[in-house]
Amino acid sequence: MKEDLMDIICCPVDKHELELDVEERDDEEIMEGTLTCTECGEVYPIEDGIPNLLPPDMREEAPA
């Protein structure tokens, strides 16, 4: 993801703003890092350049 995506995305649960923490960058692309909700504190990973913003109940649901 690129940093300007922060203008559009929000926490999927409470819709509050997210705080970006970059661990690995490839040029403009943020490859690894986290997005943390400024309200509920939920942490969403950025993996391989794509943020995983599934709500916690969908993230933890074991595939059938």
């Binding site: 995506l5 794509i50 599934l54 649901e61």
Partner: protein, 227 residues
Amino acid sequence: MDGDSPGTASVRATYDRIADHFAKTRAYPWPEVEAFLDDRAVPPGAPGPTVGLDVGCGNGRHTELLAEQCDRALGVDASRAMLATARERANGGSETPGARGFALVQAGAAALPVADGTVDAGVYVATLPHLPARERRRASLDELARALAPDGRALVSAWSTEHDRFDAESGFDTTVDWTLPGGETVGRFYHIYDPDEFRADVAASALELVEFEVSSGNCYGVVRRAD
């Protein structure tokens, strides 16, 4: 989860499994989506930068069209493997010269991680029927309404009982097999909508229908936020 309906994780796992093959067989945009986008994807006079959103973007074939019409476009899908197939297009893939890039996010349609009122043009096509419970399907329509800008429009589609392959008059849950190249089949959950039910679900949500049609066995609604 109710009755025989699978959980959303099951639908997601199905698409994770068939993603590569599915993406190859869904290379081109649907004409109904192209017509919507040509018509008025972005409202005249919309203050920029305009934003396009594709919910259930799959391989990104429609997100790419949104990216041509909007300053920025975002494709959302619950399946990580499907998103991986969209990546080349997302980077302005080499197969489509001049294509503009777009962003990808893994997320569920009933819990969109998109800020209120940001979306000028939305596409929610062939995805709603994959949500296994009616309350979740309705929640996803509310989420789309929340994400839309006051003048924003979206196209919502659902496979319908009007399709030749179905005999039923009213909506029902079913499993439709996907056949992989080796002959193995993988079942996909669908709720097949009857047109009245489609209209009712939209009416019960925070969206309202601007236009409605049945085309190629699908219900199509152009929607906006209800006042």
